[in-house]
Amino acid sequence: MTPDLEVRDLVRDFGSFRAVDHVSFEVEQGSFFSILGPSGCGKTTLLRMIAGFLEPTQGDILIRGESVLGVPPNQRPVNLIFQHLSLFPMMDVKENIAFGLKRRKLPQPEIDRRVTEILDSVGLPGYGDKKIRQLSGGQKQRIAIARALVLEPSILLLDEPLGALDLKLREQMKIELKKLQQEVGTTFVYITHDQSEALVMSDKVAVMNRGHFEQIDTPKNLYKHPKTAFVASFIGENNAFDARVVGTDPLEVELDNGLRFRTRARGELGQGASCRLFLRPESIVIEPPEDMTLNRFRLKVKNVLFDGANTKLLGHLQLENGDLADEIQVALPQDHRFDYIQSGDTVSVGVVEEACLCFLSGEG
C-alpha cells in the first residue's frame, strides 16, 4: 500500500540556518503520526512544507505517491489545523465549516448535508448557527477539526492544537482526538512539544531535534528502547549521570563519585569512553529482595514529592563512606508499601542492568 505521506530527504534553510536537516519518513494510511520535539527544533517548518506554505530547499514530498512540490496550499489534498485554530470570527460555525466546500463549488444541499454530518461526528450537533465567540475552547477545537475534516483530506496536519487549552481540557481533548481519528480513519500528522500528547495518541512518533529525526518508533519503543541520549532524556523522566566505561564485558560504568553500574549500551562503548547513564525513576526498586541481581546503592531521602499517582522520592546517592553524591529521583509504588519513608531516612534501592541505559557522550 502506498503511504499517505512520504517525505524524502527534506531540507529547508533560512539563510545560513538549517531548520530542517535531511528528514525522511513515511506515514501509513489511517495512522496517527506525531512529530515530537522541543520548540525551535524545526517541526513547524516541516509541517508548513507539507501544507505548502513553505517550499523545501531540497528533497521531495509525496502525498499518496504523487509529488506535491510547487502545488500551492489551496490545491493540496492536505489540511492544517493551526495552533490558534484560526476560525473565521465574522462567520458562524456553519459558514466556517462550509467555507472549504463552497470553494469547491458543491451544490448548497450537498454542503448543508455534509456540514450537518460533520457536526454530528465531532459531537456538536445543532451548533451550526452559533457564533465563534460563543464557543468554549474545546468546542472551538472541534469546529476547527470539523472545518478541515469536512473536506476529506488525505492527511490532516495538526500544529500543536492543544497548546492554548488549560490542562484539564487538554487531557480530555487528547483522548477525544484519538477517538475521533480512529472513527474517521483519516491520517493525522500531529506536531507537539508535549511528550504525553504524542505518546498517548500516536501510532508512531518521530522525535525531532535540531532539524533532524532522532528516532521514529512506536511510543512504547521510544520509551523502552531509546536510540539516542536525546530521546532518552526527552521521553519520560530520567535521572542522568556522567560516567566513564570501566569494563566492557559485561559493560560497567563508573560515576565521578566512584559508584559503579552494570548497564546496557547503544552502540559501541570502548574502555575508558566517557558516556551518559540514564536511570528511569520508575525502574528503580526500593528495598529490593536480597536474591535479585541488581545495581544496588543506598539513598538518603531528602524530600517526598507528593503528586498523587506520580509521587516520587527525591534523594542523594550515598557512598560507602557515608558521603552524599548526585541527586536522584525514585518513583514510589502506588500500593502504599513505602508510605513510612520520610525525609531524612536512608533506604536501599536497586536497579536491574537492563534498565540502565548508557550512551556515548556528545550525542546530543
Binding site: 501544507a51 505548502g52 506554505f53 500551492p72 496550499p73 489551496n74 490545491q75 489540511n79 492544517l80 493551526f82 495552533q83 490558534h84 485554530l85 484560526s86 476560525l87 473565521f88 470570527p89 465574522m90 467555507f99 472549504g100 470553494r103 469547491r104 472545518r147 478541515a148 473536506l151
Partner: protein, 285 residues
C-alpha cells in the same frame, strides 16, 4: 461613596459638556434659527422657509450640492482604493521592523499644513510647473498643458489631503487580523480573491467604515482644496456657503445651506452604515 463618584464624574465631564454646548449646540441652534428667517417685502426679518425654497428653485445650488456629494463619495472610494494596498503592504508584507518606519514616512507630510501641501501640488502641476517642464524636456509635449483647475486635479488633491485619515484606521484593523486566518482560508482552498473578499474585507470592515466616515466628512466640508485646485466649474458646496456669508452677506441663506450640508452628510453616513451592516459606535472604537 456613590455620591462622591457622581461628583467627580460631573467635574470631569464639565469641560466636555461646556465645549459641546458653547461651541456646537448653541451656534447650531442660532444657525438654525437664522436659516428659518428671511426678509419680507418691507425688509423686516420674519419666520420663513424662503431660504430652503431658494435652494431647490435655483438650479445652480442643488447642482453644486449633488456634485459635492458625488465627488465626496468618489474621493472616499478612491482614497480607500489607494490606501488599502499601502496599509496591507505595511502590516502584512514588509518585515515588522520596517513597518513602524514606513508608517512614520506616511505621517511626515501631514506635519505640514494642508495649505502648504496644496501649494506644493500647484508648483508641480501648473502650466510653468515641474511636470510640464519635465514633459517638455522629454519631448512628450511641445507646449505647456494646464493641469490644474479641473475636477481631476481637485479630486486628486482631496484624496491626497485625506489619505492619512483612511490609512491609519486601515493599518490598525489590519494589524488585528491574524495571519493565521489568511493562511487558514488559503489552506481550505480559497483563491487570493476569495481571501480578500471573504476574509480580509469583512474583518477590517469597522476600520474601513471609520476611515470612510472621517474622509467623507473632511472632504464634504473641505473648502481650501476645491477652491485652490478646482477650476471655475469645480464649484464645491462650501464655496456656496462662503459666498452667501461673505460675498452676498446673506447670513440667513448661508445658514440654510450649512444646515443642508449637515443633513446631507448625516444622511449619506447613515446609508453607508446600513449598507455595510456596521453601526457608528462599533466603527469609531
Amino acid at each position: 461613596m456613590r455620591r462622591h463618584i457622581r461628583w467627580s464624574l460631573y467635574v470631569f465631564l464639565a469641560p466636555v459638556l461646556l465645549w459641546l454646548l458653547l461651541l456646537i449646540v448653541i451656534p447650531h441652534i442660532d444657525l438654525m434659527v437664522m436659516s428659518l428667517k428671511a426678509e419680507n417685502d418691507v425688509g423686516d426679518l420674519v419666520w420663513s422657509l424662503d431660504n430652503y425654497r431658494t435652494f431647490f428653485e435655483e438650479k445652480i445650488y442643488w447642482l453644486t450640492f449633488v456634485r459635492t456629494a458625488v465627488y465626496a463619495i468618489l474621493t472616499t472610494f478612491l482614497t480607500f482604493l489607494i490606501t488599502f494596498p499601502i496599509a496591507f503592504y505595511i502590516t502584512k508584507v514588509v518585515k515588522l521592523k520596517y513597518s513602524g518606519f514606513l508608517t512614520i514616512l506616511l505621517l511626515v507630510p501631514f506635519w505640514v499644513s494642508e495649505m502648504v501641501r496644496i501649494y506644493g501640488w500647484m508648483i508641480l502641476l501648473r502650466e510653468s510647473g515641474v511636470f510640464n517642464q519635465f514633459l517638455l524636456w522629454l519631448g512628450v509635449i511641445d507646449h505647456p498643458v494646464e493641469m490644474l483647475y479641473n475636477d481631476v486635479s481637485m479630486v486628486m488633491g482631496l484624496v491626497y489631503t485625506t489619505m492619512l485619515f483612511m490609512v491609519v484606521p486601515l493599518i490598525s484593523s489590519l494589524e488585528g487580523l491574524d495571519d493565521g486566518l489568511i493562511e487558514a482560508a488559503y489552506d481550505l482552498g480559497a483563491s487570493k480573491w476569495v481571501i480578500f473578499t471573504r476574509i480580509v474585507i469583512p474583518y477590517i470592515m469597522p476600520g474601513i467604515v471609520s476611515g470612510s466616515i472621517v474622509v467623507f466628512m473632511l472632504t464634504l466640508g473641505n473648502y481650501l482644496t476645491p477652491n485652490l485646485m478646482g477650476g471655475k466649474n469645480s464649484l464645491w458646496f462650501t464655496e456656496q456657503i462662503y459666498n452667501q456669508f461673505i460675498a452676498s452677506f446673506n447670513w440667513n441663506q448661508g445658514a440654510a445651506f450649512g444646515f443642508l450640508l449637515l443633513m446631507l452628510s448625516s444622511l449619506i453616513i447613515w446609508i453607508g452604515l446600513r449598507l455595510s451592516g456596521q453601526n457608528l459606535s462599533k466603527a469609531l472604537t
